[in-house]
Amino acid sequence: MKLIIAFIKPFKLQEVGDALKAVGVSGMSVSDISGFGRQAGQKEVYRGAEYEVDFVPKVRLEVLVPDDLVSPVVEAIEESARTGEIGDGKIAVVSLDNVVRIRTGERGADAV
């Protein structure tokens, strides 16, 4: 069991979601974050004064997957989230000791 964490561009969420479904992953948990990185925040102007927004809004995905699905899922996210421009984001893969589905008490792969 693995937990795949990805930071992507917000407007890519729907595409990524579809790509995940395509490889057989129906569930995910999404939250929005403020990203700091190579991509600079945009310049804004307010009452005549320019200012820099330090962060860039990003979306954070968490996907619980059985081991065999790790590479398909990583690739699915990679392809669907890529624009080729700076700021596309990162994917991280974490090993899990265990996963539980609360409703049924199922453990491990069945829990996802």
């Binding site: 917000p10 969420l13 729907q14 999404v30 929005d32 945009q42 927004v53 809004p57 979306v59």
Partner: protein, 469 residues
């Protein structure tokens, strides 16, 4: 009643003088033969002023909506807005259909204790002594809508929309109109040896709303989580103080139609009434803020707003009869009362999210009684000067005012209570626990009051304050 007589009197003078003027002007220019067709300017001014005052009172609907929305949670914001919108719309129609005729129509039942009629009597008339039926209806409809809308705040965040909608029809169609008939309609309270006085409706309008709100809050019970299992009150902070303050300021502005407009003609007293209203409201706000500050350690924004409103409600009845300094005292006392009243109802575990019972019921009743102490002028209800105890007017007025507020309290609590219980027994009055938890906006009206793009997680679908692009 007296008020009408009085107006009649003044009218005669005016119209008389017009006739005279005409007689003379006729000689001056033949073209003026039908001058009497043109109504006297004072007549137009009276009607126009009362109409404009009515517009200001209707604007108060926005004030109530904002105050109530601000003091409740955002998951119920669309629902409270909808209730404020629809109790006005339905209430005005109900009042036009039967309410106005019950309150002011001719045909009496039960020896004047009740009346009946259909639609707005004489609404098509364009000639009248005093106010035109259309002017008077417009102004009274604004008051009826006010009485109705007060209740929504106290019943907020847990009342079924359908049930509330039906309630609002009945209170403006039946309950409030009967109060009108007994009082401004010239009924028994106006015909007493020592007649009642309630210049602009501290009791007739505000306490009617306030006491109906009391019954509603009791019958509904408190919101989930408003009191801990061991019965201590647990604050449920409102979601927008800016809404509360802007709403209170709009109500403050509307009050300059509410009180001065109740003079029902354009005369030299209108401006004095406005000044007393102004000072009473400001005194209420300052005293409420300071009292709450000394009790709770910090000046609470919504209590200061409640204090402003309590001062305004308190002075609404006596404003025609008291001197300016007394208006300040009465407003200040209203502001003082509201702090303790809110704490009192908390203790009783009666959950009134916006303080409507305290502001409109308690402060309104206090204001009505204050006349018997401070009355110096004849406000056209009292029929005499110096009716106040402090001016040697004796206790007579106090008895009348006491009877007035007691009878009113009983009538409103009993009828409104019966109405709410009847609705509860049939349609049900309160939403389900699950619905209350999820919020009434989605469950009752189909979508959230602060909407979002359904295809995306919240945060991505809208720029919430601060989330940037």
């Amino acid at each position: 009643m007296r008020r009408l007589l009085l107006k009649k009197a003044r009218r005669k003078l005016i119209t008389g003088s017009v006739l005279a003027m005409v007689m003379l002007t006729v000689l001056a220019s033949p073209a003026l033969a039908q001058e009497e067709l043109a109504p006297a300017t004072q007549f137009i001014l009276d009607n126009l002023w009362v109409f404009i005052a009515g517009v200001l009172v209707f604007f108060m609907q926005a004030g109530f909506a904002l105050v109530e929305a601000g003091l409740t949670r955002s998951k119920n914001v669309a629902n409270i807005m909808m209730k404020n919108l629809m109790d006005m719309a339905a209430g005005v129609l109900a009042f036009a259909l039967v309410g106005f005729a019950i309150g002011f129509g001719g045909n009496e039942l039960l020896g004047g204790w009740f009346g009946f009629g259909w639609f707005i009597p004489g609404i098509e008339d364009t000639v009248a002594e005093g106010l035109l039926p259309s002017t008077f209806f417009f102004f009274q409809a604004a008051f009826a809508a006010t009485a109705a809308t007060i209740v929504s705040g106290a019943m907020a965040e847990r009342t079924k929309f359908k049930s509330y909608f039906i309630y609002s029809f009945f209170i403006t169609a039946l309950i409030y109109p009967v109060v009108l008939r007994w009082t401004w309609g010239g009924g028994w309270l106006a015909q007493l040896e020592v007649p009642f006085s309630d210049f602009a409706g501290s009791t007739i309008v505000h306490a009617t709303g306030g006491w109906a709100a009391l019954m509603g809050a009791i019958i509904l019970g408190p919101r989930l989580g408003r009191f801990t299992k061991d019965g201590r009150p647990r604050a449920i902070p409102g979601h927008s103080m800016p809404f509360v303050v802007i709403g209170a300021l709009i109500l403050f502005v509307g009050w300059f139609g509410f009180n001065p407009g109740s003079e029902l003609i354009a005369d030299e007293f209108v401006m004095q009434i406005a000044t007393k209203t102004l000072l009473a409201g400001c005194a209420g706000a300052v005293v409420a803020m300071l009292t709450n500050w000394s009790r709770a350690g910090k000046p609470d924004v919504s209590m200061a707003a409640n204090g402003l409103l309590a001062g305004l409600v308190a002075v609404t009845a006596p404003v025609g009869a008291v001197e300016t300094w007394a208006a300040v005292v009465i407003g200040a006392t209203g502001g003082l009362i509201v702090i303790f009243s809110v704490a009192f109802f908390d203790k009783l575990k009666i959950d009134d999210p916006v303080g409507a019972i305290s502001v409109h019921g308690v402060a309104g009743t206090f204001g009505t009684l204050s006349i018997s102490l401070f009355a110096r002028y004849d406000d056209a209800f009292l029929g005499r000067e110096n009716a106040g105890l402090f001016y040697g007017g004796g206790l007579g007025q106090l008895w009348t005012q006491l009877m007035f507020v007691v009878v009113h309290f009983l009538f409103v609590t009993i009828t409104a209570g019966a109405l709410f219980l009847a609705i509860k027994a049939t349609l049900g009055l309160r939403v389900s626990e699950a619905e209350e938890r999820a919020g009434l906006d989605v469950e009752e009206h189909g979508s959230p009051g602060y909407g979002h793009d359904p295809g995306l997680p919240t945060s991505l679908s809208t720029t919430v304050p601060g989330s940037g692009a």
